[in-house]
């Protein structure tokens, strides 16, 4: 009976020690919060980068359209000049 009691106490102590050792090897709550904040910042930056890329692409398209408009305006001006000459 005494032997059983000793074995039981030893086992409980062993298990307790193992559990304590296992629990104390991770980062602290403060460190985990730091990581979460960093992740949120990265996600926010990624969103901002995506929005900026879309804005850039839109502006590039607008510039292509405006360049075509300018070319057309210059062409129209040349044609108008020629027609005015032939009117005189």
């Amino acid at each position: 009976m005494k032997k059983i009691l000793k074995t039981s106490i030893a086992t409980v102590l062993l298990v307790g020690a193992l559990t304590v050792v296992g629990c104390s090897s991770g980062p602290s709550d403060e460190e985990l919060a730091q990581l979460a904040s960093l992740k949120a910042e990265v996600a926010s930056l990624q969103k901002a980068v995506d929005a900026k890329k879309a804005e850039k692409s839109d502006l590039e398209n607008q510039i292509v359209a405006k360049q075509a408009e300018l070319a057309q305006a210059q062409k129209d001006q040349d044609l108008t000049r020629e027609r005015l000459k032939s009117q005189q």
């Binding site: 296992g22 991770g26 960093l38 980068v49 510039i63 009117q87």
Partner: protein, 254 residues
């Protein structure tokens, strides 16, 4: 004996429970090393994204400036072109409205049946005259008007081509053989008044002008003369002029 079994069973349960707790914590909680790795990885990602964002912001600002410059250039060229015509904004607007009026008018004439078009054929000439007048303006040289003027001229040409078709005239014009005064009371006034002619005596100049080759004096027509009866419709400018000339001469003779 029973107590021994009970204690052993309890120990097994405690050991298994402890093992399970260890496994779960190992899965849920990261190690310090893993945390450090993730901190390093996300820090590098954040720094890289900050750089990308800064570059993109710079690019966007540069593109905005380029777009603004291009917009200014387009406006400048358009203003220069307008200045070449010497026209004010008001004249430009008035020209646009006048052209639109002619376009609508031509559109209406295009929808008419051949018979109705023939009756309003003088309008085609008026339309052409007004378009010719617009063509004289420097504004007609502007591309925005030039294309519209060309399209309108094509439409007028089509109307003229329709009116010039001999089969159209043959199908539309009737003839009338003049009877005697004693029996039929035929004169241009009375012929024009007939139900199956114009049902309107005031249309007599139309018959006169349509038969200039055989009627020199509208007061004199002869029995047996075969007169062409132009298609009904308002008197044309020429017909009205001829009528006025007739009345002037008539008054002068008295």
């Amino acid at each position: 004996m029973n107590l021994k079994k009970l204690v052993v069973s309890a120990l097994v349960v405690v050991l298994m429970g402890a093992a399970a707790v260890q496994t779960v914590s190992a899965q849920e909680k990261m190690t310090k090393e893993e945390w450090q790795n993730q901190i390093t990885q996300y820090t590098a990602q954040r720094d890289s994204l900050k750089n990308v964002l800064a570059q993109l912001t710079k690019d966007v600002d540069s593109l905005k400036a380029a777009l603004a410059a291009l917009t200014d250039q387009v406006t400048k060229v358009q203003n220069e072109t307008m200045a070449m015509t010497g026209a004010s904004a008001d004249r430009h607007k008035a020209f646009d409205a006048a052209l639109k009026h002619l376009e609508d008018w031509a559109g209406q004439l295009s929808l008419l049946s051949n018979q109705d078009l023939y009756a309003r054929r003088s309008e085609v000439d008026s339309l052409q005259a007004q378009l010719d007048s617009l063509k004289q303006s420097k504004l007609a040289a502007l591309q925005e008007f030039y294309d519209r003027i060309q399209a309108l001229q094509q439409k007028i040409d089509q109307l003229k081509a329709t009116l010039a078709r001999p089969d159209l005239l043959a199908g539309l014009e009737k003839t009338y053989t003049v009877g005697t005064w004693a029996r039929d009371r035929d004169c241009l006034w009375n012929i024009s008044k007939k139900k199956d002619i114009y049902d309107n005596p005031f249309m007599w100049p139309k018959i006169w002008q349509g038969n200039r080759d055989q009627i020199k004096d509208p007061d004199v027509i002869h029995p047996g003369q075969k007169l062409k009866i132009p298609v009904a419709g308002p008197l044309t400018d020429n017909e009205k002029k001829a009528e006025r000339r007739y009345w002037r001469n008539k008054h002068a003779a008295h």
